[in-house]
């Protein structure tokens, strides 16, 4: 966690703040796209302008090895959690109006999304053999020449599989993982109910995170549609995604990821 930003609270948010991620059309994977979209949504909700810059080596530029990361002034901060804290130190916060119990709930739900949805996305793209062969390997190493692309892919796959084994997901089958996703979506759907946002009238970082993951799942074409079907079962979640897309991303065509995508790996939300 980058604690150096605490000394930069006096500076206002600059105009040239940049968000770095991997190449949108050819390289970025499901989980990274979800995280990046979550951060973009959060910054939009805070009304903080940011440019999205795509670089092939974004993962290596990041201080923690994870995308996305933002470059603001002379600070570099990566991942949603530290970015939220950094933005709060600058004086913008979405969750100030919540009381203590609600803040606890919000943090718990964010952990649920990270624990279940993000891990399921990682499992699907690195541990499911069909997806790995057909989608992940070609995409992950695409900016690099052979044999570097294969070596980097194998290395990353080995790392992710080690982590899955440590947390006990290595023994799960795809059906079990999809069931976990379903359970998570069910919980989110129950929590959302008929409200516009998770904490009634105002969006919070939880809304940004959920939007990032669910929108990516809904709009990414994989080998099968099973994952997106699980999310489509819950109509209030799809309505939630559409609402946030319309409110925060329409009219920001250049920055958002809902730009008409010509690659075969994307399909627009209908």
């Amino acid at each position: 966690m980058n604690l150096g930003f605490l000394c930069s609270t006096a500076e206002p948010w600059p105009e040239n703040a940049a968000l770095y991620q991997q190449l949108k059309e050819e390289q970025i994977l499901l989980s990274d796209n979800a995280s990046s979209l979550a951060v973009q949504a959060f910054l939009q909700m805070c009304n903080l302008p940011v440019r999205v810059i795509c670089r092939a080596n974004a993962e290596y530029m990041s201080p923690s090895g994870k995308v996305p990361f933002i470059h603001v002034g002379n600070q570099v901060v990566s991942e949603l959690g530290p970015i939220v804290q950094f933005v709060k130190a600058k004086g913008h916060s979405l969750s100030d109006g919540l009381d203590e119990v609600q803040k606890a709930e919000m943090k718990a739900y964010m952990e649920l999304v990270n624990n279940m949805l993000l891990t399921a996305e990682l499992y699907l793209q690195w541990c499911d053999d069909v997806t790995v062969e057909e989608i992940t390997y070609p995409r992950y190493g695409s900016p690099y020449p052979w044999p570097l692309n294969r070596i980097l892919s194998y290395q990353k796959q080995w790392e992710v599989r080690r982590k899955m084994k440590a947390i006990g997901w290595a023994g799960k089958t795809l059906e079990q993982v999809l069931e976990d996703v379903d359970q998570c979506c069910h919980a989110l759907s129950q929590r959302l109910g008929t409200q516009p946002y998770f904490f009634n009238k105002q969006p919070t970082e939880l809304d940004a995170l959920v939007f990032g993951h669910l929108f990516t799942i809904l709009t990414t074409q994989l080998i099968t549609d099973e994952l997106s079907e699980k999310v489509k079962n819950y109509s209030n979640l799809t309505a939630f995604c559409r609402r946030i897309e319309q409110q925060y991303f329409e009219g920001h065509e250049k920055d958002s990821s809902t730009t008409a995508a010509h690659s075969s790996k994307r399909s627009l939300l209908r």
């Binding site: 923690s64 994870k66 119990v101 803040k103 606890a104 718990a108 739900y109």
Partner: protein
């Protein structure tokens, strides 16, 4: 996580060989190997599961609801399970189905948390469980522990065990709304993400704790020569898990990772405390799955006496969480807060009696010496007010005479 190698079934061990906290928590160490290798023979009469089942079902909700285990008139017998289908009938809130289950487990890396969790859930929902302890993971039906065996089905992971119990209509979440069910899932994820690494660290990686408490405890329960290898293996796995999930850049050294995970754990405890507030359980007056999970994670932190206890100290600053643990222990595990079971209380009373008898004998001796002193010519006769030869009856006067 099956472990290799053979080992005997659990043999009864003397209480003094076990760490102190086990007496205060769930004591399931003793099995009587009545059937030799047969798992069904491992039954401890008067064990916690059985004692719970003798409690009568409460008619109305009391402030601290008693365990919903309605088996009046049942007496625990070691050979009960060998009788097979004669297992006592169970009536629960929704059906009168005949039900039979026993749970086997042995200590593993998560076991203090998991065994407390599952037994707490079973007690909250009224499922009759017999808890068996085995030392050898291979003896469990699937080689994977903890395991629930019920009639023909074998269920092996905690989440699945809870689902199984729910499908059998032992549902502690019956009264919860859908939103509360979703909250349960979210808080469980929070516990696993934030609190579990610190728990693992306290038990397995902190070198003082590991060497003085965890390793001897586990090694004493596992058969030689596995006891030389398994604790080390569990410790390495715990370290691996922490480093892989929490140890990415920019945290490069173990001390930085430790600082981060303890910060996270303390924040998690604060969040739980805020969520609990002043109510008795997390969702009102009756305990639910979330209470079982929180209890399962908090009880080892709260009760085990470690040399390095920063998490325990932080927990003790949150009085509502301490009260929550104590309530569940006294109400559902029939233990007093000081950690003595009622049987233990009897032995304590017996010890106290012996002590007072010793003290009386001492006081008699001292009085005789006093008499001799008085009779000696050097000292003038002293006026003695309360000199009485206590005949081994009341202990109060000798005690008061002995006090300075």
């Amino acid at each position: 996580m099956g472990c290799p190698g053979g080992g005997g079934v659990t043999l009864p061990r003397a209480i003094h060989g076990k760490p102190a906290w086990c007496h205060g928590l769930v004591d399931t160490a003793f099995g009587h190997p009545a059937g030799g290798d047969d798992l069904t023979g491992l039954l401890r009469p008067g064990g916690f599961g059985l004692r719970e089942r003798q409690a009568a079902r409460p008619a109305a909700r009391s402030p601290l609801p008693a365990a919903r285990s309605p088996l009046p008139g049942h007496e625990a017998r070691p050979h009960l399970l060998a009788d097979g289908p004669q297992f006592p009938r169970v009536f629960n809130a929704t059906s009168g189905a005949l039900f039979y289950a026993f749970l086997t487990h042995c200590e593993q890396v998560f076991s203090p948390a998991l065994q407390s969790l599952l037994q707490a859930y079973a007690k909250f929902s009224g499922a009759p469980l017999i808890v068996n302890t085995i030392n050898n993971c291979r003896r469990a039906p699937k080689g994977d522990l903890p395991v629930l065996v019920s009639e023909d089905t074998v269920v092996s992971q905690p989440a699945k065990i809870l689902n199984f119990l729910r499908r059998q209509k032992y549902n502690a979440d019956y009264d919860l709304s859908a939103k509360q069910g979703a909250d349960t899932l979210a808080y469980i994820a929070l516990l696993e993400e934030k609190l579990l690494p610190a728990l693992l660290h306290t038990f397995w990686i902190e070198s003082e704790n590991y060497c003085s408490v965890t390793k001897p405890w586990f090694a004493s329960r596992i058969a030689f020569p596995l006891s030389l290898y398994l604790p080390g293996k569990m410790s390495r796995e715990a370290l691996n898990r922490i480093l892989l999930t929490k140890g990415g850049p920019p945290l490069y050294s173990l001390t930085e990772v430790e600082a981060q995970i303890y910060r996270d754990a303390k924040e998690c405890l604060n969040l739980l405390s805020k969520r609990l507030g002043t109510s008795q359980f997390f969702f009102g007056d009756t305990p639910t799955t979330l209470d079982a999970f929180v209890f399962g994670f908090l009880a080892p932190i709260y009760k085990v006496c470690f040399p390095r206890v920063q998490l325990q100290e932080h927990l003790k600053q949150l009085p509502n969480l301490c009260r929550f643990c104590d309530d569940i222990l006294t109400c559902y595990f029939r233990l007093t807060v000081s950690g003595h079971s009622p049987a233990g209380q009897d032995t304590a009373d017996a010890n106290l009696q012996k002590l007072t008898q010793l003290v009386n004998k001492e006081s008699n001796l001292i009085e005789k010496m006093d008499d001799n002193l008085r009779k000696s010519p050097q000292h003038p006769p002293r006026k003695l007010t309360t000199l009485k030869l206590a005949a081994g009856g009341e202990e109060s006067s000798p005690m008061s005479r002995l006090s300075p």
